[in-house]
């Protein structure tokens, strides 16, 4: 239960089966894999073509209208994609009174850099920021641990109970997160081993690990690794742990990257679950703390806080752009 906050269109929460699964063995490719492969194979050479041919491009009339359409689209996309963020960036350094009276004028009474300072120190964004990072790191670790060991058992070791385990994991994809809300809350409140996980980071970290999507994703990747390598390692005397640590993991960097980005992004976005189990403000991540502060805190400082909180995800996106967009493409055909 990583995403308790479903978004329309991508709807990336549980409730939909994530993979069009065929048994663990059959190596069929999913639609998106084929699409991605077709894309990379064709590359950006002249082979890639759409509905406009080179001949069409030579016709001046068509060329002009298409170029105009592209330009209009670009302008709209700039307004759509950057507009609200630019406004946010402007608000972050605008005096509160100006934000309220003339939100669209550009610094009529100068700038207010002190907003940033107030956000970081007085509101205490620094603390919630660290909490957010801490929550993300733990969720990432638990997801990677469960997904890699689980994938290893299901794909490489294949004990006799593997099919049962596989289906038990897969079945949870059909259960939307909302069904787990109350019982999982009670589990956190009274875990089987006693005590209570409420107001500890474990309450977020551990349930994050129970992501069937990750397990299946990693398992499928392991399925595609060449068996000869494992065999050779066995002959050389490698046991299961050697095989896992020295052979399988180093070969799995691409999929670990995908799982990691998904894990960190999901954790950064999550709201409802941390909101329920981290009631102590000192432990809350940004997305939980900011709504509580909004409306009771000075607007200028608040806007600066929002801007700072947006910065890291945007930087991550700009750095890992390819992976994000690939993941989104994957999302359509593979992920529910």
């Amino acid at each position: 239960m990583t995403t308790t906050t479903p978004t329309p269109v991508t709807g990336a929460s549980a409730g939909a089966p994530v993979l069009p699964s065929d048994g663990p063995r059959r190596a069929t490719t999913t639609r998106s894999q084929r699409i991605l492969r077709a894309r990379t194979e064709r590359g950006s050479t002249d082979e890639e073509r759409g509905y406009v041919s080179t001949g069409d491009w030579r016709r001046p009339h068509l060329r002009r209208s298409l170029s105009t359409a592209h330009l209009v689209l670009l302008v709209l996309l700039v307004v759509w994609g950057i507009g609200p963020l630019l406004l946010l960036a402007k608000f972050a350094v605008t005096p509160t009174q100006d934000i309220l009276r003339t939100p669209l004028s550009v610094f009529p009474h100068g700038m207010a850099w002190e907003n940033l300072d107030a956000a970081w120190n007085e509101i205490g964004i620094s603390r919630y920021f660290l909490n957010t990072v801490w929550v993300a790191v733990g969720s990432w670790a638990s997801q990677v641990l469960v997904a890699t060991t689980g994938g290893f058992v299901l794909s490489v070791l294949r004990p006799r109970y593997a099919p049962v385990l596989h289906w038990a994991v897969l079945a949870t994809l059909f259960v939307p997160a909302i069904v787990l809300l109350v019982p999982l809350y009670l589990t956190i409140l009274h875990p089987p081993v006693g005590g209570s996980l409420l107001n500890t980071f474990w309450a977020v970290w551990l349930p994050a690990g129970a992501s069937a999507f990750n397990v299946v994703l990693v398992q499928r990747f392991f399925d595609s690794l060449p068996r000869e390598v494992f065999e050779a390692a066995r002959v050389d005397g490698a046991n299961d742990f050697h095989l896992f640590w020295w052979i399988v993991l180093p070969m799995s960097k691409p999929i670990l990257g995908v799982v990691s980005v998904f894990a960190v992004v999901a954790s950064w976005k999550d709201f409802l679950w941390p909101f329920l189990v981290l009631r102590d403000p000192d432990l809350q991540p940004l997305s939980v703390r900011l709504p509580t502060l909004f409306g009771t805190t000075d607007l200028g400082a608040m806007m600066a806080a929002l801007a700072i909180s947006t910065l890291i995800p945007i930087l991550m996106f700009l750095i890992f752009q390819r992976m994000f967009l690939r993941g989104a493409g994957l999302g359509g055909a593979v992920k529910g």
């Binding site: 978004t7 329309p8 409730g15 994609g81 109970y161 038990a168 397990v215 409802l272 996106f317 359509g332």
Partner: protein
């Protein structure tokens, strides 16, 4: 190539114990994280949800009540309202969020220079943490004439609008923000699908003298049919579970005009009286789950048949 079998014991009809021993003790060690984490935080709560929906539960004691929870949920006068609001949200999300990404993606696919810039711009809002997007838009929706949107619209002589404060406009306002936050993902999905249209089809269409418009209508769009249907189902599944927007924008108001199913479940479980209606909340979430499972099954079958054809 047949998968070699590594030290797997020969097939023996055995007891559960021998079953577990298959693959050796190290297989069990590797299975431990999955078993523990899924066991405690997935399988156990799922089972508990089934049980709880037939129980009257609070934080301390619980007792069996049969189908009473389901009856109470279905008789709740707020349920039809929540269903209606959720359906309204879903419909508006389709009207706003379905055609625009399609048109944008089709147009983007013919861009020759700086294509990456286009998709990056479209995707940027998806990267903004949802909570922050909602808080920012809440300020944009300021109902005063000086509000951001009201001021922008006043330049073309419209408004001021009450946005979130009006029963009529609150829901469309929520949907507009949700569309902004999600449309980029849909565009990327369509772009991937567009890139997969076989070049030969266009070549063939050109031999027949097809214009650009006819190529779009007769080659491109038919090829997207599958993906369009998948995104439709995904969107229904997603919008049926909308929570964040109504919760943070309006809290379900004004006058419950943005009360959605998930918000109703949340209120029953964690509203004023924590735990008082855990049973009802679980019962309602199970009813919703059945609906979603049906949609998922549809999706599952479709993606499966497409990936094999």
């Amino acid at each position: 190539m047949t998968p070699p079998d590594f030290g797997r014991p020969r097939r023996t009809r055995g007891t559960p114990a021998s079953w577990l021993r298959s693959g050796g003790p190290s297989a069990l060690v590797f299975a431990l994280p999955v078993l523990l984490i899924f066991g405690v935080f997935s399988w156990l709560p799922i089972g508990r949800a089934l049980i709880m929906s037939f129980q009257e539960t609070n934080l301390i004691v619980s007792s069996w009540v049969g189908l009473e929870n389901f009856q109470a949920v279905l008789a709740d006068p707020k349920l039809p309202l929540a269903v209606k609001n959720t359906a309204w949200f879903a419909l508006l999300a389709l009207v706003f969020g379905y055609p625009i990404p399609l048109v944008a993606a089709v147009l983007m696919s013919s861009v020759r220079r700086a294509k990456g810039l286009y998709s990056a711009l479209a995707y940027l809002p998806v990267v903004v943490p949802p909570v922050i997007a909602v808080l920012l838009w809440r300020f944009f929706y300021d109902a005063r004439p000086e509000g951001v949107f009201n001021e922008i619209l006043s330049t073309v002589g419209l408004g001021p609008y009450p946005w979130l404060q009006s029963q009529t406009w609150a829901m469309p306002s929520l949907v507009l923000e949700a569309t902004w936050a999600a449309a980029g993902g849909t565009v990327i999905i369509y772009l991937a699908a567009l890139a997969s249209v076989p070049a030969e089809l266009y070549d063939a269409a050109e031999v027949d003298g097809a214009s650009v418009w006819r190529k779009i209508v007769h080659v491109t769009l038919p090829h997207l049919r599958g993906v369009l249907f998948v995104t439709l189902i995904l969107q229904v599944i997603g919008t049926a579970q909308v929570f964040l927007e109504p919760f943070l924008f309006t809290g379900g108001g004004p006058a419950d005009s943005t009360l959605t199913i998930l918000l109703l479940i949340y209120r029953k479980a964690f509203g004023q009286n924590l735990g008082a209606e855990f049973g009802e909340a679980t019962a309602l979430s199970l009813l919703l789950a059945v609906f979603l499972a049906l949609m998922s099954l549809l999706y599952f079958r479709l993606t499966r048949s497409w990936s094999t054809t």
